[in-house]
């Protein structure tokens, strides 16, 4: 919903992530220093799990030797399949469900966790083919997984996570301070106007034909339908 704020046209145009997603962090995952995770939550409640910029994997020019979504003998995240609008069949994850294990060239292995409760929709197979995506674009093409929280948990799942502000404050050495937004001159034209998914409200006209449905973008009492282009 932050993305719907009227911004001053003189402001720097926000990126796709800034426009549509809220960033949440889990610092020092399982007590391991700096193993920070980031959860990008879309205004439609879908979450994308990524490595935080501060994660050890992304420091000091390390290289990745393997990414393994097979998290135990019996369970592979690669076998996850969802079908239909209701995403039947997806593995249900809790906060500390492992998503994958990443091994770096110095033989250290890191486990990446779900961070939130929800249904696993997809994992990123592109990073299996091209592990350097994870290093070069950790916040976008190098994402780890897409998770759909339950509709009624879409707000509560982030309660245990840190906001970007809190995370920056808590992060030692002001690591993030050096990670200011990319400096390429952004557009100074009027900013793309607010739209989450293009959700719109159906009028409640008295008709037998009128079938309302909730798109799920906006937890609340309203019924919506969504835009397409």
């Amino acid at each position: 919903m932050d993305d719907t704020e009227q911004r001053d046209p003189e402001d720097i145009a926000p990126s796709v992530i800034e426009r549509y997603y809220t960033r949440w962090y889990r610092a020092d995952m399982k007590g391991k220093p700096c193993e920070d995770h980031c959860v990008l939550q879309h205004s439609n409640r879908i979450c994308v799990v990524t490595l935080a910029e501060t994660h050890p994997i992304l420091q000091n020019g390390r290289t990745i030797t393997s990414i393994n979504y097979q998290i135990s003998d019996g369970c592979s995240r690669l076998k996850n399949k969802v079908s239909g609008k209701s995403k039947r069949g997806g593995q249900f994850l809790t906060d500390f469900a492992p998503l994958c294990r990443i091994t770096c060239s110095d033989e250290t292995e890191y486990t990446i966790y779900s961070c939130i409760r929800g249904r696993l929709l997809e994992v990123n197979e592109s990073i299996l083919k091209t592990p350097k995506l994870l290093l070069e674009k950790p916040a976008t093409e190098g994402y780890i997984a897409v998770i759909l929280p339950k509709f009624d948990e879409s707000k509560s799942i982030t309660e245990n996570l840190l906001s970007r502000e809190d995370f920056e404050e808590s992060s030692p050495n002001g690591l993030l301070a050096n990670r200011s937004p990319p400096d390429g001159a952004r557009c100074s034209r009027p900013v793309p106007s607010p739209s989450c998914c293009g959700c719109v409200y159906l009028p409640s006209v008295p008709t037998r034909l009128d079938k309302k449905r909730n798109c799920g973008c906006h937890p609340g009492k309203v019924t919506f339908t969504c835009g397409d282009s």
Partner: protein, 573 residues
Amino acid sequence: MEGVRVQEAEACFLPPLETRVKEPILRQPAAMLPLKEKDKPIVQKLLSAGCCARCILRFCCTRVQAAYRQPEQETLKELLAFISNPQDPAALESNGDNKSHDAAVSESTGDNNPHDAAEDPPSKRAKLEPSETTAGSEEKEEEDAAAKSRVCVVCLGILQEFCDTAQAVKIAEAVKAEKYEFDSVMCSVSLPAQLCVREHSCWLHVKKEVRDKILVLDKDDIIPLKEAFKWVVQGLVSKGLGGVAMVNKGGLEVGVEFTHEATDADCHFLASVCPDCFKPGKKKQSVFTRMAVVKALEKISEAKFLKHYPCPPTRTSSCCSLQGVQCLHVSLFIAGRYNKFSRTLPQTPWLIDGERRMESSVEELIGASVLSSFRAEGFNFSSSGREDVDVRTLGNGRPFAMELLNPHRSRLSRAEMKQLQETINESSDKIRVRDLQIVSRDAMSRMKEGEEEKTKSYTALVWTRKPIQSDDIIFIDDIKELTLDQKTPLRVLHRRALAVRQRVVHSMSARFLDQHHFHLELKTQAGTYIKEFVHGDFGRTKPNLCELLQTDTDILELDVESVDVDWPPAIPE
């Protein structure tokens, strides 16, 4: 035995003398009613139970509409004659075919033989009345008062006083007051739920009798009360409305609602026998809806029913009452094309948690004038695809259609439609409408059919992270028929199935603006997600513009230049 029964029945059902004098009664021989010998015991039982003449016809499964349309008193007389003449060969033999009797009844009603009331000796009635009450005690007085009233124990007056001309005129006047434009009228009737209970009781009453005589009669064969009511009343209402056609579907629906004060009291026993059929609803005033009662009657055993409810149903002096007449005109459909010139205008009202996010919407800007022109109560808006709130729709516009709910006006001329279009266009500079026309419901599907195969043209304003020269983007113009693999975009994934869809970008053309911006024109297969093609959607659309240009790209503005669906037909200006 038989004689006694007849007398009772007659005593109960003959109207007060003055009524009989006022209404000229058509004279017909009893044989004209399409009844067979086997109907006799049913007629007899129902008469003594206190059924009205038309309900008796229903229970005899008579589908001859004219028999219902003739005055109730006349039918009653014929029924009495029918049962008092056990050896009538005409009634016995020649009643095998209902059709022939349909004709017979129609003919004789057409004859209009005025019947002098004097021919019916009032002395007969006077003689009978005391015989009925002689055995009466104090306790029975109330019961007798009910017995004397001629309110039918099954229909509680629906096929009696509510079938007369005065009631039909009342209904017609109520319709006229709403000032509708209409070509045809359809009647619908809503009846109090206990009529089902009473009908069930009466059915069990006759079923008992007829089973001994091995006559076949199933509850489903009984003519539904609603149907019989319509047979009588529809024609009268139509006449009251100047002879408009009565139809079974479409046109103006005239809903006639009846209620009865004792519905809950009459149905109450069902709730204790079948409590699960009567779960209290949130807004409903009574749990005894017709649906619930019918369901309970299907479940309840005959023995249980008879234990809790009198068979035949008790007499009452209270009639149903006409609760109201509600009119609903069948939906009307209009179509056209719209342009949207604003990036802060959603297509339909956009509310989050009950709060409005945007001032207006395309459908509201169009709808306001349309509603007032057609004097409709509401509308449903649909279109060939839909643009996001920040996307403009230019060119010839996007085909749309509207279902107008309960329109009071239904005949707008071409000139009036043109005027309406002008009114809409003058009302706002954020949108523009063309090709506005009335269409059929079926034609609307053409709009949706065209959606998938057609091409759409767009212009996008693209930002690049790396500075670009005009030469850097020339190669884009040479890309033809580029097939994209688009995973369901994250922004719609919550409500759409996850899939990889192949979509074709037929052609592109880039126009350099400055070192970080250019305009990209695209012609694509319908269903291509343009925003995701430009920013890549976490690499989930491949290839994407970031890959093609080897830098991050983002989409700042998007315009739909054309939606190539050739419906609705263009209207020359």
